[in-house]
């Protein structure tokens, strides 16, 4: 579905600051109907990777082939078409929804933007929005509410509904649960798993939370300073990491397991 080959992004030197290599020869393949995790700490290049994939940044080198076509070399018209097929769910559901738009306007916006291809009447758009609300566990009663009237989990459901509106084949999930409470995170993760199954979606799951990636993803890669440190099936990456960095990172994750208590260590 998505094949990234030798992707690099170098921000050129500016006055006072040297050139920064945000991505260094990153390659991976996302198979259809699978979930691929990208794990890294801040400054690892996760965000740059996302921005390249949705066309907000131009990579310095390499290819991003979506069904054989390189995203970076598309005409603006083709890029718009690709944007309908790769959608993104953002990290912070408090900031990613326009506070002055109702749930209907937010979820319906992609339908309007891609109106030239979808050709939905106003009535059909509303029906589709309601269908999407129900799909993500909300309902028609939420149609005219504004973001501040929703809880964090509900907002993220709206963000997911917006991403699903134009029937994409692939979702980029940019830390979709890191701003949520664990109880809500579990619901959202299950919703994502269920949607992937029923809609045959592919996920690119960006996260710093290894537990979440392991739960949702089939394969994963680990980024450090823009370089791929580990890559493979999640079991292999997390249980038998090859690099020291991966081992240290995995050891640093606090598990909900009393036996790893610091108090027991002494």
């Amino acid at each position: 579905m998505l094949e990234v080959k030798g992707l690099s992004k170098i921000y050129p030197a500016r006055r006072g600051s040297p050139a920064v290599t945000a991505l260094d020869d990153v390659s991976f393949t996302l198979a259809a109907n699978s979930a691929f995790g990208v794990v890294g700490e801040s400054g690892s290049g996760k965000t740059t990777l996302t921005r390249c994939l949705i066309g907000l940044e131009k990579p310095s080198q390499g290819e991003m082939l979506f069904e054989g076509r390189d995203i970076a070399r598309l005409s603006p018209a083709d890029l718009r078409e690709i944007r309908a097929r790769i959608q993104i769910v953002f990290q912070d559901p408090y900031a990613s929804l326009n506070p002055r738009m109702s749930a209907q306007d937010i979820i319906g916006e992609p339908l309007l933007i891609h109106h030239d291809r979808l050709q939905l009447t106003a009535r059909a758009r509303t029906d589709r929005v309601v269908e999407l609300l129900e799909r993500v566990g909300l309902g028609v009663r939420h149609l005219h509410r504004y973001p501040h009237e929703f809880s964090g989990g509900q907002r993220q459901r709206i963000g997911i509904a917006r991403a699903l509106a134009v029937k994409p084949q692939m979702l980029i999930l940019d830390e979709p649960t890191s701003a949520l409470d664990v109880s809500v995170q579990a619901q959202i993760l299950n919703l994502l798993a269920e949607l992937q199954d029923s809609l045959k979606l592919s996920y690119l799951f960006i996260s710093h939370d290894l537990g979440v990636v392991r739960y949702i993803c089939d394969r994963a890669l680990l980024l450090l300073h823009g370089k791929v440190i580990e890559q493979g099936p999640v079991d292999q990456v997390f249980d038998h990491p090859q690099s020291d960095y991966a081992r240290r990172l995995i050891a640093a994750i606090p598990d909900v397991d009393p036996s790893q208590s610091l108090h027991l260590a002494c």
């Binding site: 907000l56 953002f90 916006e109 933007i113 891609h114 009237e149 809880s151």
Partner: protein, 293 residues
């Protein structure tokens, strides 16, 4: 920590909550009251005043310089005109002029600022240098020059003042647009493939309206003051149309003996400026409760 919201307040409740917040401050209510009274006078002034003929220049030489009395509440001037009538009638000119100035300045400045902030790059540079240039010219002098070139009169005066007024709005809107442009929901719209005009009109501008409205309210007072200042130096509205600044200017020659001819137009200007400022502060509290304290 965030306090949990109650189970889905309706829009009506939100509106009530805003009103509750607004009412918390007695001063904003006072500002609103002053502004409402001014509006009523501006609209209905010519019907409720005791001597409507004085508005269109009628004079009564028999009753020159009468002090305030039950007949002439604010006394009479050197032409025997009722000062109360003139002050009431002046409200219309002041409000129309002030509103005109603020609207033109907000729309022109808003468009320039939004374009500069959203486009960035050389467009931003050119537009903002132009704005800076306008800001460096003393506004009253600029207005005087324009008024002198175009001639006196209400519409020329409004145009003249607006030309020196828009840079303030341009700067405000540019700053707000630049801040909002980086917001995640704007990036989300961009990732969906939304066009620039859609992003600007649907996502950025609606979220920068509050500060613009607040500034418009605050500026109304100062615009009225600027109108009065131009009237005072004699390049504003032409007599006999009553205008607070020109009333004050004419009365200047008769101080201190006939103080009422000056004091009442002066008080009118004072209350109008005060009213719009208090209202603007109240609106700021309403739109942004965090700014309080």
């Amino acid at each position: 920590m965030t306090t949990p919201s109650t189970a889905h307040p309706s829009r009506w409740q939100n509106w009530q909550r805003s009103l509750y917040r607004f009412r918390q401050s007695g001063l904003s209510i006072a500002g609103l009251a002053i502004v409402l009274v001014l509006l009523v006078i501006a609209v209905g002034g010519s019907w409720i005043v005791p001597f409507p003929e004085h508005i269109s220049g009628g004079i009564n030489t028999a009753a020159r310089f009468k002090p305030p009395s039950s007949l002439y509440w604010f006394g009479t001037n050197e032409l025997g005109q009722d000062v109360f009538t003139l002050v009431m009638a002046g409200a219309r000119v002041s409000l129309i002029a002030g509103f005109g100035v603020v609207m033109i300045a907000a729309i022109l400045g808003g468009l320039i600022g939004a374009l500069a902030g959203y486009a960035g790059g050389w467009i931003d540079d050119v537009l903002m240098r132009l704005t800076d240039l306008m800001l460096t010219l003393p506004s009253l002098i600029l207005a005087m020059a324009i008024a002198a070139a175009l001639g006196a009169g209400l519409d020329n005066m409004v145009f003249a003042i607006s030309m020196s007024w828009w840079p303030g709005f341009a700067r405000l809107v540019r700053g707000e647009v630049i801040a909002k442009k980086e917001d995640l929901f704007v990036q989300a719209a961009r990732a969906l493939g939304a066009s620039d005009s859609r992003i600007l009109l649907r996502h950025v501008l609606p979220n920068v309206m509050s500060p613009i409205i607040i500034k418009m309210s605050l500026d109304m007072g100062f615009a009225i003051l600027a109108v009065a200042a131009l009237g005072f130096i004699g390049i504003g509205v032409k007599p006999p149309t009553p205008e607070w600044g020109s009333l004050l200017s004419l009365a200047r020659g008769y101080l201190p003996d006939y103080w009422w001819t000056a004091i009442f137009p002066g008080l009118a200007i004072f209350f109008a400026v005060l009213g719009f400022n208090l209202l603007g502060d109240g609106l700021r509290d309403l739109f942004d409760p965090k700014a309080r304290r």
